[in-house]
Symmetry: none
Subunit: 200 residues, 4 copies
DNA sequence: AATGAATGAGAGTTCATTCAT
DNA sequence: GATGAATGAACTCTCATTCAT
């Protein structure tokens, strides 16, 4: 009874323990021993749920990347103007990175630890995700709403700035998540220079 | 002849090989065997120059962090207005991150791999460095030149955005380094929203 | 069948192999490779049973020191006069050193190889063991049965003389163990000088 | 000037440093690095004086074993009766072991660390030395002055008891060296049992 | 569903030793 | 007389992984 969802549960527990440890120490800095200890299992038991350490990492990355897209795409589509679309995208992106801090931390920084096909798979997913923003930016450029020289630079700047949230955000901080999202959106849209915010 | 500066040279070669490998695979993903192979030495020879792998990482971080500060502080001091000071700082920061890509990559992402006192030492240096920008931003806020809600958010956004350069910049790319610096400066000061650039 | 008690057995086999090698070559002169080879295991398998080489040595010393005390204390307590008590003690001490030659050899000569707390622990056990004899000797002195100047000298002389058995005793020698114990007892009690043995 | 005896001196310093370290940690527990550091030299410099670590150990053993014999043989020869001969031998043996504590400690306990011919050489020297005592004991037995069952047991007991001095003797102890020698001589000749000392 | 026992490769580190200078 | 630079083998220990139970 208590164990009806045993498998599912345990798999999830392993997943989370792995995420926590890899976020703190990196993939190579995390041992399956650590993971096993964190869930009070024997190391060999992990292999019942995940065929290898690589697959465990891959599972984290797959789920996180897909969830990220699923969280960000709808708001962008639902919004009206390019400006609103970009704002909605940034907001969703930031919120996700703060909400699922550890997973995005791992996903953003451990791609290099992926081997072979796994790396290609995840890289493709991430590129496709980046296109979401690139498209909005380029549309804005054509409409004359946005202004930048190089869409590559603009997109990368945007994504790394927002992804940074996962690095420095602390849930116990004094600034609410929603406010942080607002600030980053404003920052990217209008810069730090003082001026009557055009919209927000 | 070729070996007259044996020691100095070799130490430097090891340093660079380690930087390259750690930038690509991370600290834990890099073995001293790899480093040794890269410089055509026996693994044990590395210990003639560095007492441990940790100390090797520490050497990289110390040098890079100090050089970064030495590269960024003067331009900020030399500039006139807050706006110019911030611009000069961003520019120097970005140029350094592009110029010393591998070292900053390691330094930015492997602090977690540092142990004990080493971690505290480097963390202190990095915090002090961040203050350089925080001060400029806060001065600008008081002068009414800048506008933001939370200096912490603003500083972090700035630094992660710029540090991102080390992640995606490729020296062979089609956009020149100086142009990238300009774009990021503009982006952070005035945002993406199209508008008659106030200065640049 | 042969492997039903796998774990217990293997641990014991490792223990014995380690004892044999360390008795012959000393702690630092013995490698875990040697130990592993002696029990036909991979070196890494040793770590399933003992967390480190130090801990392996410690296990030997703990067991041997405790068993030694357990073997010597009862006979001393059971005997009547001081003279008999000392004789019983020497006898048990000698028999144990001959019986468990390799273990006592290691235990007597590798205390210096112990580190930190382990050393203190074993040293305390050994000191407590030495007190067993010191007490008998001092009681004999007070009763006027024994005569010596310095109980420290007398105790040390006794213990090193008897422990020496582990060094030179060979089970295949022509003198039986019991006779050796008798001789040493007589030697310590009455010396080499010819005389009608007072008791034995 | 200050360095006129440079070579001799340095060799002697290395010898002593090695003795001190090996007495404390054993041959295998002592590294040439330790030795070099103790005499403020580079490790490679040691090779100017000793061709290898083995030879260094051998040098210690050779010198000590020869000096021991040279210290013990004359007193035995000079003495009159067997009893006096044995007493003189024990006395000289004990004094030497206390006086040259560290060297005898190494010599007595590191024979197993010797390899090949070196081991045979030293073993032969030690056996010859042991004969000195065995002969006295056997003569005493024939003369009816001594009484023991097995000369092997008697000799070994004597030598290990006396050699033990090097283990527990502390120059700062409260008992003078000469008194210790007296006590051990008395102990071996007449035992602990209280009795009017026949001679001493 | 989970474990205990074992593996084999490879990690960082230390060692005695060499040799040109 | 002594060193600095390098070596290569060996060390202890840890890793991810396997598999019978």
């Amino acid at each position: 009874m208590a164990n009806r969802h045993g498998a599912r549960n345990t798999e999830e527990l392993i997943y989370r323990a792995a995420v926590g440890l890899m976020a703190a120490r990196g993939y190579h800095g995390t041992t399956l021993r650590d993971v096993a200890r964190a869930v009070s299992l024997q190391m060999s038991s992990i292999y019942y749920y995940f065929p290898s350490k690589q697959e465990l990492l891959l599972a984290v990355m797959r789920r996180t990347t897909r969830d990220l897209r699923a969280a960000v795409e709808p708001p962008i589509s639902a919004a009206g103007s390019v400006r609103e679309r970009l704002g909605a995208g940034i907001r969703a992106h930031v919120l996700f990175h703060a909400d699922r801090r550890l997973e995005t931390l791992v996903t953003d920084s451990e791609i290099r630890a992926l081997e072979g096909e796994g790396r290609e798979e995840i890289t493709a997913l991430r590129d496709a995700y980046g296109d979401l923003f690139r498209e909005v930016l380029e549309t804005g450029l054509q409409e004359g709403v946005f202004s930048f020289e190089d869409s590559h630079v603009a997109t990368n700047a945007l994504m790394t700035m927002c992804a940074g949230v996962a690095v420095w955000y602390r849930p116990d901080g004094h600034t609410s998540l929603s406010r942080i999202a607002d600030q980053l959106t404003h920052l990217y849209l209008d810069g730090v220079t003082a001026s009557p915010p055009r919209q927000a």
